[in-house]
């Protein structure tokens, strides 16, 4: 399954990261920690999927609620198209 087909391979686009290095050790996922959360949003300011960040399911749940809180408090944008 490892051969490239027609020159296109999903793995060519984005290297797969396994565990998120950002959350190693004693890191608290909190909406006030904007710098940390910006690592988990995409260019279009969407919440990045786990396959991009390598978060565990429970980390991802926490991150998504904290990002939503940060968005409400205008610490993070909802979209790139804010007026």
């Amino acid at each position: 399954m490892s051969g490239k087909r027609d020159g296109y391979d999903r793995r060519d686009r984005k290297p797969r990261k396994r565990a998120s290095a950002l959350l190693q050790g004693d890191v608290e996922i909190n909406y006030k920690n904007v710098e940390l959360l910006t690592n988990f949003i995409t260019e279009r300011k969407k919440i990045a999927p786990r396959r991009m960040t390598g978060n565990t399911a429970s980390q991802q749940r926490q991150i998504s609620t904290e990002i939503k809180k940060a968005r409400y408090m205008a610490l993070l944008p909802y979209t790139v198209n804010h007026k």
Binding site: E28, N30, K32, R71, M73, A74, L75, Y78, H82, K83
Partner: protein
Amino acid sequence: MINLYEVLFIVPSTLADDSYKELSGKIRSMIENEHESEIVKFEEWADRKLAYTINNHKNGKYYLLETRCSSTCIKEIESILSFEKTSVLRFLIDKITEKKVAK
């Protein structure tokens, strides 16, 4: 039942100091005098650009309040903040655990 609460609220940067003082004084006296509860922390963040405009405000001052108080007290804080539509752009009340404060 006494819980530890964290309140983050945004005040427009253009707001006069007096009206902010009035608001913070109101909250302070409500917690300390009426409910005899403790304010753990009341800090001001640096002036911040909002991620998006709220009521045509581009910048805001964030205030973080941590208090150990009862649920009736926090409800009153909530009603104060939600009533001040011109001076409070957004607020968020969170119940936090003691562990988070120690950090």
